[in-house]
Assembly symmetry: C2
Homo-oligomer: 354 residues x 2
Amino acid sequence: MATIRTKSKSSSGQAQIPNPSLSVKRITIVEVAKAARVGTMTVSRALNRPEMVSADLRKRILKTVEDLGYIPNRVAGGLASGTAKAISVIVPTLNHPVYVPFLEGLYSLLPQEGYQILLGTNEYQLDAEENLIATLLGWQPDAIVIAGVDHSLRTRNMLAQARVPVIEIMDLTEVPIDMNIGFSHEQVGIATANFLADRGYRHIAYAGMLSQLDLRGAKRMKSFVTTLKRRKLGHYIVSNDKPSSIGVGKTLMVDLLEKHPQVDAVFFANDDLAAGALFECQRRKIRVPKDIAIVGFNDSEIASQVNPALTTVSTPRFEMGRLAADMLLRRLRGTRVDSARIDIGFRIVEREST
Amino acid sequence: MATIRTKSKSSSGQAQIPNPSLSVKRITIVEVAKAARVGTMTVSRALNRPEMVSADLRKRILKTVEDLGYIPNRVAGGLASGTAKAISVIVPTLNHPVYVPFLEGLYSLLPQEGYQILLGTNEYQLDAEENLIATLLGWQPDAIVIAGVDHSLRTRNMLAQARVPVIEIMDLTEVPIDMNIGFSHEQVGIATANFLADRGYRHIAYAGMLSQLDLRGAKRMKSFVTTLKRRKLGHYIVSNDKPSSIGVGKTLMVDLLEKHPQVDAVFFANDDLAAGALFECQRRKIRVPKDIAIVGFNDSEIASQVNPALTTVSTPRFEMGRLAADMLLRRLRGTRVDSARIDIGFRIVEREST
DNA sequence: TTTGCTTATGATAGCGTTATCACGATTTTT
DNA sequence: AAAAATCGTGATAACGCTATCATAAGCAAA
């Protein structure tokens, strides 16, 4: 099937906007002040602390601002005030269902308080993280949000020296750099192992990425396996180091069935993987949960919609983002934040796949 | 199933970082210059245009920078140079499978060239778009990327007056503000209608959101229906104004089967909706494509993985992002960009659901 | 040798805001 | 009525960097 493009004149001529260097001078606060016959400070106040300016003057200034189409230069304002009204956010990747809901949680609160989010992704490379943080710190953010609690020493130092609120999310640590919101991945592994063992499964596998690529998954895997061992049950591991996706879930399932045909339950590193595995079972007419039970992780939408619906571990990602934003805002307002470390918990959601 | 939290001391005491206002003075370029016994300009050059500084001096300066842990203040630099090295990006929402791959395309090129992405979402509200743009323009971005080609007059004016490269994406228009990369949603509607009609389907439906919430979907729907009419085929529409998701796909399918039981093919506004509908068919033992054919839109991963795999319209989202980034970078480097409007096309991918 | 041309470095003046202090004009208190 | 406090406004000096011009040193050309 060939790519379809519009038949007619597909691409028109030159770009229409002239060279910016020739452009007319932008309107600054000085122009506004002149036009409104006041000082620049009064304009600044009318915009930022309206209650400090008398009602009629404020009205006049706001009208002038509107008429001239003045847009305050945040870069200049940031330099002058020392606070750029920006918050740096570092996540491993956007290409994973976990981080988007978390970001939406942040976006649901921060912009309306005037904060711009500066998003950086390190694509799971720990060394890239250091550069990324240096870059993001250069914007003089008012706070930093970073996924995970396992950072290089240099990263920790840079973050601590930034002398700015830092919040580590998605995982828990006993020694946060500053604030920390998340849940215990070790506990997830234990709970899931017990859940499956209690339901009578005897040959239980973990499937996901390992090592650097999914540090938190590795934590779940470790405690999952330890728990199974303690309960003297068969345990198996299949892994794949490609970025997580439905297709990789299929591969993992194929792999698992080949290597360990006796397996009767699998805990996947996330719901996409679990769904991919489920689809593969459908194709092979393997009955879920009768022949094999599947447990996902995150409670993404897909988990509740497939047939059979997936048992999974519900993690409050949106809420984590919102709570993180809320804690930061309170901290930035100067309010004391009394718990620097919040265990937001998780829940096993039992559906039809176990 | 109760939420599980770590048993022990769940939240520890106070945040560890002291009040920023008490903090020691940050290291600036002046400190570096003093320590390296050079002028500030030489430090600036050593960092930004290393070829302008003699090799030994450069080495000394870079070592000093390293020793002191100096991080250049981009806000100050941006103010001084007039270019903040930032690019504003406006998308409707993150909560939709289309925008993330597009953003990844941008992220695959812009940060490595030193540009920070300033991301804003308007959650589909056109009036929010104006505020958002004003906010983002305040950062003096070097360029602006915006999803869609249908903007309010005010928005168009603000963008044009910003005197900065603007690139509209995801859709095509004859009158771009500046640059434009996308494909024709009208053509998608026509092509899909013809595709289904040619395969013998006679009672064909469109299912998706309508109106403001999905302007581009509405364009597809319109030309889809027009084409069906021209071919004298039955056409039906079901819609729902909740944000698109797998669950909504199920609802739409339920709705459709109830209102128009004679339907034999459906074109969904995206793959998530289509997948949700497919899952509902599975539950009801409706055979796809025998009883009803399903076509999705976007070629997201889920489309190729479900059973039966979904026929869908492949849209190059990542590539669109990458191409947009590439065009912007060339423009920012001063190179002439010879086509201001690119029709990137689409492809119907036939799989098992038709 | 003198002149001119590079090249490497530094001094200085902004960039567009906001913090701060100062100053009248009011209002309140004594 | 005088003194004190409060309020609204503006002048000015940063904020930390880079553009620009000036200068010194080195070297080639005349």
